[in-house]
Assembly symmetry: C2
Homo-oligomer: 125 residues x 2
């Protein structure tokens, strides 16, 4: 496992949140688990842009941070279900607020994102 060389700074609330949510797919994982997609394979299908590997890793981290919990059913083929802990559930309103802001401003966001990507391409000519 990769071991950090620079320790995180944990001064204010925003630092702490960053420490547990900063990962490309973590917020979406929490979101989809909340929506009822609890099995790893379901989550992978909901988030096809992420590699199977990272999803596993980020699920492990979310579990280590007690935002989700994992139940392994002793079957074959294996069956695993994740669910939000109470702690994790308390984050959902915040994630919902984020998502709503993104949805409500989707058009404008697409514009400014596209504009910036073009600029970058200009730079590299």
């Amino acid at each position: 496992m990769y071991e950090r060389k620079i320790s995180p700074n944990l001064h204010c609330g925003l630092d702490l949140v960053a420490e547990v949510l900063y990962g490309k797919w973590k917020i979406r994982l929490l979101w989809f688990i909340n929506e009822g997609y609890q099995r790893p394979s379901e989550l992978q299908r909901k988030i096809p842009d992420a590699s199977r590997r990272v999803l596993n890793i980020q699920l492990n981290e979310l579990e280590a941070h007690e935002l989700i919990s994992k139940v392994i059913y002793p079957q074959a083929p294996p069956k695993v279900e994740y669910s939000l802990t109470e702690f994790g559930k308390s984050l959902i309103p915040v994630i919902t607020a984020l998502g709503n802001w993104g949805d409500g401003n989707a058009e404008r966001l697409r514009e400014v994102i596209a504009k910036r990507l073009e600029q970058n391409q200009d730079c590299s000519r």
Copy 2:
């Protein structure tokens, strides 16, 4: 400037938000600008863990995404002030919610974060 090789996916609101906020210091920059720390040097003092370089880069990105705007006073030594755009201001309640969650759960967050860091050190022995 670095040019992305993998284009971002912009399906849902959460993807769009991630695209403009995913950067180690962006949320904190918005936060401090909202609190009235508008000059780059002030922001650098408020966020000493970040290098000057990244703060500049992330400020540029926030500006490109129209969350903040920049005023350059034609003076020497130069004076620059950033401020939130209306668009940027609309994000503040969401950031506040994130920060409040982090502050409200600070103790527990520190615990689980510390616990996980220890585990990693165990692994590497």
